[in-house]
């Protein structure tokens, strides 16, 4: 190996001892935070579904699933990490590799990321850089390769920075999705990534394998949408629990995740018939939209909403760490290789409501989808959640606010950072909003 390839373009040289110490202390904090979050979720929810037990276990970053992936890797399987949900998981599955999403939600590693990028940069990016610096995230460490989709500025450079350690496949994304040439371009990118996945795994993606992979994710989408639909009525599951279910999809085995989610939905349906609600049906129904909220640390907003006085309940979200992950199915018309690739490219590019897109009508798809969700899920208030540095979501707020004002929907802009210091201040803000919602409902 030449020296040049080992030269890190971005990452600082940190003594191994310091790395080990940092990892040890941050891991310990993280384990505490995870246990604490789950304990609080159990406490808040009356009649918490039994089936959540499984998701509580999988949610543990340093537990069962890590060991499983490690064992699979030893048996010869490859792991492909991805940083945006635009990465075609179907192709990874079809090549018999394991897809894992590696965006980081750790607060403590965000501070480490400051050594590489300025503090103005989105904390999701800083935190992921920090996690890589000390090798904290098992899924990021286990990834053989990373798919970096160039959506926002942060993600674009994150891929570049992480390429200090691992091969990174960049997938540029057209910013205007509503045109034939964009779709053609994106399809070419998908084909390129397909070849790279094949080269990495040594498995050829055949029509049969791809079909089976698509059918697996379709089943997952089915279970996922069933869960979302169950949240339309009186609360049978707390928003945090549902969000945790959604997030575990990012690293769990997809078939098993689907089974467990279906089992959860079966249990929830029984609760609907038995009228066993998890909290008061009068609790304000809140939707969160904006920057992704990533397990385990960045759980403060949902916690504040659902543990506040008055208690609110998150019944829907428009987050790329939540609803957007799986709601849209891959719609295959004919099971030919060609059409399957068309379907995959369209599902990832066209159905997405990511704010990185624009068109002659602006990002109208997102506006329409928000309006639809507000009506379908009987939302009583929207919290527009932005972490500092997340430009795209912050900039779209004005438009979203205007549209929601028109239908008389309260919306609250909440900005924060990857830090625990502002929890007290945030609590006041969230509770004031919830109180206002509760007062509106009483009227």
């Amino acid at each position: 190996m030449s020296n040049q390839s080992q030269d890190k373009k971005y990452m600082p040289e940190i003594p191994q001892k310091e790395i080990d110490e940092l990892r040890k202390s941050i891991k310990a904090t993280s384990q505490k935070v995870m246990a604490d979050n789950i304990a609080r979720m159990k406490k808040t929810s009356n009649n918490r579904p039994e089936a959540m037990q499984y998701f509580d276990e999988v949610a543990d970053f340093f537990g069962k699933r890590e060991k499983e992936i490690r064992a699979a890797k030893e048996a010869g399987k490859k792991v492909v990490g991805y940083m945006c949900l635009f990465a075609p998981t179907e192709l990874i599955l079809a090549a018999d590799a394991i897809p894992v999403r590696v965006n980081s939600g750790w607060y403590d590693t965000a501070k480490l990321g400051d050594r590489v990028v300025p503090v103005e940069v989105c904390p999701v990016i800083r935190s992921t850089i920090g996690a890589k610096m000390i090798g904290l995230s098992p899924y990021l460490e286990l990834s053989d390769s990373l798919i970096s989709v160039l959506t926002c500025d942060g993600q674009t450079k994150l891929g570049e920075i992480l390429s200090d350690y691992k091969p990174v496949w960049s997938m540029p994304l057209p910013r205007v999705k509503d045109s034939a040439q964009s779709l053609r371009f994106w399809r070419e990118e998908i084909m390129t990534v397909k070849k790279q996945i094949e080269a990495l795994t040594g498995n050829k993606i055949t029509a049969k394998k791809l079909r089976s992979a698509i059918e697996r994710t379709q089943k997952a989408t089915k279970a996922f949408r069933r869960l979302q639909d169950l949240r339309k009525g009186n609360p049978v599951i707390m928003g945090r629990d549902a969000m945790l279910v959604n997030q575990t999809y990012m690293w769990d085995d997809i078939t098993r995740w689907t089974e467990k989610t279906e089992a959860l939905c079966d249990e929830l349906e029984k609760k609907v018939t038995g009228k066993e609600w998890v909290c008061s049906p009068d609790a304000p129904r809140v939707m969160v939209t904006g920057t992704p909220m990533i397990w385990p640390d960045n759980w403060k907003l949902p916690t504040l909403i659902e543990e506040g006085t008055p208690q609110g309940v998150i019944v829907a979200d428009e987050l790329c760490s939540g609803e957007r992950l799986l709601y849209d199915p891959v719609g295959v018309d004919e099971w030919s290789m060609d059409d399957m690739f068309n379907a995959i490219s369209e599902r990832y590019l066209m159905a997405s409501t990511c704010p990185c897109f624009t068109s002659k009508d602006g990002n109208e798809d997102r506006i329409n989808w928000l309006l639809n969700k507000v009506k379908e899920w009987n939302i009583q208030g929207v919290i527009y959640y932005v972490i500092r540095g997340c430009m795209l979501y912050a900039m779209e707020y004005t438009r979203v606010k205007k549209v929601l004002d028109r239908i008389n929907m309260p919306v609250y802009y909440l900005d924060t950072d990857y830090t625990r210091e502002d929890v007290g201040q945030m609590k006041t803000r969230v509770e004031a909003f919830l109180e206002m919602l509760a007062a509106r409902i009483d009227l």
Partner: protein
């Protein structure tokens, strides 16, 4: 006499019975929501095929058939093209075979597709104008309304039968172009090709037969490459747009497609699955889909994964709408 009437009633009953049995069979047998309507369409097409054969075997003036085909679209849009036309059935069957061989289909550039769509009017007018051309070349001794009408309907260039071209069944109850074992076989437009060739007067080289074979081969290959290739410029399917473009006739299409703007994520599935590449369902923001290209086959409604986004309405009543097709079908 009585026996004949009874036999007719029996035939109609058998047809109706077949329709109901076929539809029920599909409803019970096909659980996948994403293909159910497609299978239903095959049943309806097959029954329509039999019904058209039955109509042909009666001495019903073809003028009435043309009348029905041209008045129906005013209210039902091109429902006939999507669900009843026999030529469409042949093309759909070829599609099924193509799918079985895992061969991909091609698409035309949108501009060319739109051009072909408008080109159909040129074809339509060409055939209507042919009798006039004939009149100018070879003026009849007296100008008489009856003669003019006779020329138009039954003259050597029969525009009427050209318009009926696509609904020719494969087996015809009259002397058709091809006889095997006493049964006459035909194919859309083949009879017209033979007649026209004879009119041109090149019978010596069997021009009619050669052209017919070329036509059959071309349409078969064409429908392997492109779904519903003929429907893109078929002159018979041209009537609806003319009516709908007139002011004051917006109410006319009773059967229509509606789109809910807010529920649509513009995922593009409707555009991709459309057999004739209609883009309006995708592009139009919401409301009544106004295009004469749409054959109302409802494939887009069937494949749209967002509940209630696309709706098929008769008047104000919704008869079919898009739904989450991932769900297993509830018994209907």
């Amino acid at each position: 006499m009585l026996i004949e009437i009874l036999a007719e009633i029996l035939k109609i009953t058998v047809l109706a019975g077949l329709t109901i049995a076929g539809i029920l069979a599909v409803l019970i047998w096909k659980k996948g929501l994403a293909t159910k309507v497609t299978y239903l369409r095959f049943v309806v097409q097959a029954v329509s095929f039999a019904a058209i054969f039955y109509i042909f075997s009666n001495p019903i003036p073809l003028l009435y058939v043309v009348g029905v085909i041209f008045i129906m679209p005013i209210f039902l849009g091109r429902f006939f093209c999507g669900w009843l036309c026999p030529f469409a059935l042949y093309m759909d069957l070829i599609t099924v075979i193509r799918k079985a061989f895992r061969i991909r289909h091609r698409t035309l550039p949108d501009k060319l597709n739109k051009f072909l769509h408008n080109f159909r009017y040129a074809i339509f007018l060409f055939f209507l104008a042919l009798p006039l051309v004939l009149y100018l070349i070879d003026p009849p001794p007296t100008l008489d309304f009856t003669i003019a009408l006779a020329l138009l309907l039954a003259g050597p260039f029969k525009p009427l039968s050209v318009l009926l071209g696509p609904i020719i069944t494969l087996i015809v109850p009259w002397v058709g172009p091809l006889e095997i074992g006493g049964i006459y076989f035909s194919y859309p437009y083949v009879q017209e090709i033979i007649d026209y060739s004879a009119e041109i007067g090149l019978t010596a080289v069997n021009l009619g037969q050669i052209l017919s074979i070329v036509f059959v081969v071309l349409t078969v290959i064409g429908s392997v490459l492109l779904r519903r290739v003929w429907c893109r410029f078929c002159p018979t399917g041209s009537s609806i747009a003319v009516v709908n473009r007139l002011r004051g006739f917006k109410w006319a299409p009773v059967l229509h497609l509606d789109k809910d703007e807010e529920k649509c994520t513009k995922c593009g599935i409707c555009k991709r699955v459309c057999p004739v590449q209609v883009t309006e369902v995708y592009e139009q923001k919401g409301g009544k889909i106004a295009t004469s290209m749409c054959m109302l086959c409802f494939r887009c409604v069937e494949m749209c994964p967002y509940e209630d986004t696309l709706k098929v309405n008769i008047g104000r009543k919704t008869i079919f709408k898009s739904r989450n097709w991932l769900k297993p079908s509830e018994s209907e």
